[in-house]
Symmetry: C2
Amino acid sequence: MADDTDTERSAPRTARERARRELTAEIKEVGRRHLAEQGTALSLRAVARELGMVSSAVYRYFPSRDDLLTALIVDAYDAVGEVAEAATPPADAGVVARWVALSGAIRGWARANPHEYALIYGSPIPGYRAPVDTIMPAARVSQVFLGLLRDGIERGELVGRMGDEVVDDPAIPAVLQADLAAIRDAMCPGVPDSVVARGLGIWTEMFGTISFELFGHMHKVINDYDAMFELQMTRAAEHLLGRPVG
Amino acid sequence: MADDTDTERSAPRTARERARRELTAEIKEVGRRHLAEQGTALSLRAVARELGMVSSAVYRYFPSRDDLLTALIVDAYDAVGEVAEAATPPADAGVVARWVALSGAIRGWARANPHEYALIYGSPIPGYRAPVDTIMPAARVSQVFLGLLRDGIERGELVGRMGDEVVDDPAIPAVLQADLAAIRDAMCPGVPDSVVARGLGIWTEMFGTISFELFGHMHKVINDYDAMFELQMTRAAEHLLGRPVG
DNA sequence: TGTACATCAGTGAACGCGCGTTCACTGATGTAC
DNA sequence: TGTACATCAGTGAACGCGCGTTCACTGATGTAC
């Protein structure tokens, strides 16, 4: 994994290196499509077959099926992170507009890539244990969101329950305060507990809404998913601000 | 499926019938445990093996692997529905207490049966299409929640944005109003659009929170899941009421 | 610029496994007279 | 109450399939002198 990233960074020096890079990408591409076509079941042999190579040849590129899966997972996290970064307007657009844009972009990516979404936000894959390599890419999209909270505090749009300085919310138990403090220190310095907590709330609500839509739990119940999502995300923003939007 | 339900209802008349019922239950039981032990991969042969029968014998009880899966899914929906019904206090306990009890019970069931939870609320199973038989059991748990909203309106605890009679919320687009009206007519007459909408919001937030916890997306981020869940559900209740709790 | 050796990509066969499903069968249980 | 027939549960063998992974190999590409 680590060398893969190195390889991706520097320019290819030889034809062999270029071919290797292209085939690695092609294998992942086909893997992604297979994921999209037959669900979470990813078969090395099927991928090799489609590429016209013998199954054992894939082992030159990925030491095992799980490593290919890991690569796809990392790519998916990176993709949604990139989409989130690109779609989020600068700080002066304000927290609400940024939140609506961010959540809409994440949902858009999820709808366009439902199986990749399921891969990273759905049920854990049987027999697969996520290696450490997936942790950092997974955090990327949350960083965008927590940055948004931080800007909201800095610009005075968001306020903690106890005013706008970092204070403990007495309604929050001590153990949880520690968790929230760890998040704040790592990703959004200056954001009070209550805002981090409310942020986590709307963050999970967003993924819950997307999952309900994509996994079919609102089938025949909600027809206009676009309107529903926008309504819920606006309400979520109100909840975050602590007052009606607009 | 339909005859299965019939069989379950009436008392067994013969030894054969009793044996059949017991073995059917045993097959499901083992299937459930396999689901819990090796994830979403459910193998007819493995189930048969554990029961000491030959794999083809299972076909006397379930016409195919997918039918066994369907039975497990139906059972899971029924189980969570039953837990929800049992855990929710009567109407005079008030909306907030009932909501906290209900959400806590659903989470409790999910934590106790994570793979059954994933089966019904996680990513769709590759190659499996849910038959109509699953629709009614799936609705059972939502009925408890929507009944809670209805009682909240009747008792005057919850109010729509435009007062406490059924009115359209102008912020909600027409198509969505139709969806909400269909839900109201089927499951919670008298509950205004805005309350149904906010209800759906906290309902998905709850499942989002449970999924994040069970699927490991808060691993090493939140340590005290109990406190976090309670905090979020209390905040959700505030959101539903439109004012701080207690 | 040319040669000798090392590195690497891809082959093809094989191993050992598990899966869902069908089918003709034996023997036990239930039913009608 | 006893017998004859119909129903059903479970067997065992087989079909045809796909899977991940290993391994000795050939031939092409890259590197050092």
